[in-house]
């Protein structure tokens, strides 16, 4: 009887294995087989769900099916898509936009200003609350022209936001706004973009095909299939079930980077950098030379490698614009120089060391707490651990206090920390929009660095529309930061997409989205 019992467990597993094999066989046999040679389909693993084309997700997949008013091109200029031309009042509060007359929805109806106004009203509807209800007012001028009037800076970026896509009024006007985020329309959308929706299989995939009437020309890729899976990209890519995966996590990037069948595209984003905030009111960090020394002690190149960032990722001591990033037009960063760091610290009076090798001044040790969000995938935790070791080598002790992201943000806002790892949002729009850009220097004020020159520069930045002016201001800000080192810039955000080498044109993608954002300019090697 004993033999029987033990083998019962074995039996269960045997049956499972058999079922597994059967499932695989079934799956292999009945999946849409790829016809060799004439295959012109790209399968992308998207960690989302079948609502990904709707407004519940703010991702670039939507840009395959829907068009925004304008996009920012490589040179940093706005290029019209739905919009043909636009103008704004002197105070940037009133925008008048004229649409192109040759764009149609996939069902043939023309795209008009009625659609835009309808969507703008809907997004501010109290049951939808995508935007604040009283942020703006949209008015029709004629079939292709409309105006948006904003309340103070309540709708920064909304008028020409290159992520905001618009939807057909004639198909949506009768629906109840209450269920906006779960309208069935998002699973079977009718758009106006380079790809048309073919079908959605719940929880499994969305199939799109090239739109032959796309006003910029039919895309070279015939079909795009978005597949949904929660997590790991590695098994799906390696087995060939998908051709590309977006938002791949860092450990997987490490594994896939060594595989010659794949190419890792890492996109560096501008304007939302992770920085180390020093509290200037704390006597430890009051002196510029000390802050510079601490920055010199951190090898940011090695930190980038630790985070599996691509080799060419720029190290900056400020936030360059997207244009400056592409042109590599930014000043040389503060180098990694622990010798100078030690020298500066000694000169600042921290020349004695205690028993554990930690620097002392007037009997007080150089010991402080750093708050950061450990759980984020943004790498704050890794950076904190790395910096802790780096600072220990120059005789500075840093203790890490992990907190939730919301708590860290609150502390940064209130200046309630000794040191903190957080993000600064210099180049993008912000939730605390103000008329003269005070929100931009608020985190620095909270840190105790109140510099009228910086405040003036941020004001100019906020008002600048001309990209050259923006770049000029950013350059001035960078110079100021390198001189005063109010915070230590650690790393910019980087998102990784891993794609098969069969997909070409990926290196020409620009903009901040993932590979789906530029699908209209990609092609497959060897596809007919």
């Amino acid at each position: 009887m004993a033999a029987q019992q033990i083998s019962r467990r074995e039996w269960v597993h045997q049956q499972a294995r058999a079922l597994g094999v059967a499932a695989l066989a079934g799956a292999a046999g009945c999946r849409s087989k790829r016809a060799p040679g004439s295959d012109n389909t790209v399968m992308v693993l998207y960690p989302a769900d079948e609502w990904v084309l709707g407004p519940g997700w703010d991702v670039s997949a939507q840009l395959m099916v829907f068009l925004p008013l304008a996009v920012t091109n490589r040179r940093g200029e706005l290029e019209g898509r739905l919009a043909e031309r636009w103008e704004h009042s002197a105070d940037f509060l009133k925008w008048t936009i004229r649409l192109r007359d040759d764009i149609r929805w996939h069902d043939g109806a023309p795209v008009t200003a009625h659609d835009i106004k309808f969507i703008l009203d809907l997004l501010a509807h109290p049951d939808v609350l995508y935007y604040s209800p009283d942020a703006y007012q949209a008015k029709l001028v004629d079939d292709l022209t409309y105006t948006v009037t904003c309340r103070q800076y309540a709708c920064t970026g909304i008028p020409l936001d290159d992520w905001r896509t618009y939807y057909p009024k004639h198909l949506l006007s009768k629906l109840d706004p209450k269920g906006f985020y779960r309208w069935d329309f998002w699973k079977h959308p009718v758009g106006n973009g380079p790809f048309r929706h073919v079908r959605t299989v719940d929880r499994t995939m969305i199939e799109l095909e090239a739109n032959p009437d796309y006003f910029r020309g039919r895309p070279k890729i015939q079909k795009v299939i978005l597949k949904f899976a929660g997590t790991r990209a590695v098994p799906e890519l390696e087995s060939g079930k998908v051709d590309a995966a977006v938002w791949v996590n860092r450990a997987d990037v490490l594994k896939l980077a060594g595989d010659p069948r794949f190419r890792v595209y890492q996109r560096v984003f501008s304007g939302r950098d992770t920085v180390l905030f020093w509290n200037h009111r704390n006597p430890l960090f009051a002196e510029t030379s000390v802050r510079r020394a601490l920055t010199l002690a951190i090898d940011r190149r090695e930190l980038y490698q630790l985070l599996n960032y691509p080799a060419g990722t720029p190290i900056c001591d400020a936030s360059p614009s997207f244009r400056q990033l592409t042109r590599r037009d930014f000043p040389d960063p503060i180098p990694y120089d622990p010798v100078s760091a030690n020298r500066l610290l000694d000169a600042a009076g921290w020349d004695r060391r205690n028993q554990q090798g930690i620097r002392e001044r007037n009997g007080k040790a150089f010991d402080f707490n750093l708050v950061c969000d450990f759980g984020s995938s943004g790498g704050h935790g890794e950076a904190a651990v790395y910096i802790q070791a780096a600072l220990k080598r120059v005789g500075v002790r840093m203790n890490i206090r992990p907190l939730d992201e919301a708590d860290v943000n609150r502390r940064v806002k209130d200046g309630d920390y000794e040191a903190a790892i957080g993000t600064v949002n210099i180049y993008g729009a912000s939730s605390e929009a103000s008329v003269d850009g005070t929100h931009l220097h608020q985190p620095f004020d909270a840190a105790g660095y109140v510099n009228p020159k910086l405040i003036g520069l941020f004001g100019r930045l906020w008002r600048a529309v001309d990209p050259d002016e923006v770049d000029r201001v950013l350059r001035d800000i960078a110079a100021l930061f390198q001189q005063d080192v109010p915070v230590t810039f650690l790393f910019p955000p980087v998102a990784a997409t891993v794609a098969s080498t069969r997909i070409r044109g990926g290196e020409n993608c620009y903009g901040e989205g993932d590979i789906t954002g530029c699908m209209e300019s990609l092609w497959l090697e060897g596809a007919g």
Binding site: A27, R31, L129, T204, S431
Partner: protein, 335 residues
């Protein structure tokens, strides 16, 4: 009996109200702001510099009643609860009842299967082990069940993934279905679902079986030592009948009540396993809600869990009374 049940049910109402009250105040006195979570979840790209305007915050607060004073919110919460309205999830913007209805079946798939398999395995092992005390089988079963019992379940799950999914590749890493599930024929779909069920259910079932086997073995071993068993044997009854008919019934009683108390496990017990296998069940939803400070979801799942505990207790008591005629339902509830 019926009167007893009614009486107990009536007693549970003030109990549940008390639990709801404590829950409410515990949640709302905790730090962390759900509105911030809402605003962050609105934009789910990896990076976007574009956050919504702050006037939005006020509108959201008003919509969820978070701008009212605490006692008013409490009143609203109790009133809604009585009506069965569990509110709307702050991070998902969907009614909580819908979320529960969607996630509960997934959890039940795991827990019911695990309980059944675990019970079969555990009881069988326990019986065999008690009957063949001190034999090799007994030792093997005891050692393995004690070890499995002590191994942390989440680690067992990770190790199973490592060995069976990554190294051997026999089973999938996670999720409830394959990438191409929707394209499979019906038989393929069923096979695919079962294939994905194997690992998580195995982990749960083994843990559950380990405890049951131990308990069953000790209980039965104890009963087998009693006099009436010796008497039955002396009467010449075959061993199998002695064990199965007489001894087992006595040993089974506590086990029966234990399974009655497993009711809450059905809903929340697999939380960690669900999280590891990315299984969209209620436990995983509750864990995510805790991280998101999604009050409506947290409170609704807690109330559900409390309700199940109370029901489970009642069930266990009733079952015990049914199985053991010596027990009076009106007696002392001491163990």
């Amino acid at each position: 009996m019926a009167w007893y049940i009614v009486k107990r049910l009536l007693q549970t109402v003030p109990l549940l109200v008390g639990i709801a009250t404590i829950l409410f105040f515990v949640m709302h006195l905790a730090p962390g702001d759900p509105v911030e979570m809402y605003l962050r979840k609105q934009h789910r790209t990896l990076v976007t510099g574009k956050a919504p305007p702050s006037q939005l915050e006020q509108a959201i607060r008003h919509k969820y009643g978070l701008d009212r004073p605490l006692p008013v919110q409490y009143g609203m919460w109790l009133g809604n609860l009585a009506r069965g309205d569990l509110g709307e999830s702050i991070s998902n913007r969907r009614p909580v009842t819908r979320l529960i209805a969607e996630t509960l079946p997934y959890t039940l798939q795991l827990t019911v299967l695990a309980l059944i398999l675990g019970a079969i395995l555990g009881i069988t092992m326990g019986i065999l082990s008690a009957v063949k005390q001190h034999s090799l089988l007994d030792r093997a079963v005891t050692v393995s069940s004690v070890t499995l019992y002590c191994v942390p379940e989440f680690w067992l799950a990770v190790m199973f993934i490592l060995v069976f999914a990554i190294n051997l590749g026999w089973f999938p890493l996670s999720q409830t279905r394959s990438l191409d599930y929707g394209l499979l024929p019906t038989t393929g779909k069923i096979a695919d679902r079962l294939w994905h069920l194997v690992l998580p259910v195995s982990v749960l079932a083994l843990s559950s079986a380990a405890g049951t086997a131990r308990y069953m073995r000790n209980q039965l071993a104890g009963v087998l030592r009693e006099e009436f068993v010796t008497a039955a044997r002396a009467r010449g009854l075959p061993e199998s009948r002695v064990v199965l008919r007489h001894a087992l019934r006595n040993a089974a009683m506590p086990i029966v009540t234990i399974y009655g108390l497993q009711l809450p496990f059905l809903v929340g017990g697999a939380a960690v396993v669900e999280t590891i296998f990315a299984w969209p069940g209620m436990g995983a939803m509750a864990v995510a809600a805790v991280g998101d400070r999604d009050y409506p979801v947290i409170m609704a799942t807690s109330m559900m869990a409390a309700l199940l505990v109370v029901t489970g207790n009642l069930l266990a008591d009733v079952l015990y009374a049914v199985v053991d005629p010596r027990v009076s339902l009106h007696g002392n509830r001491t163990p």
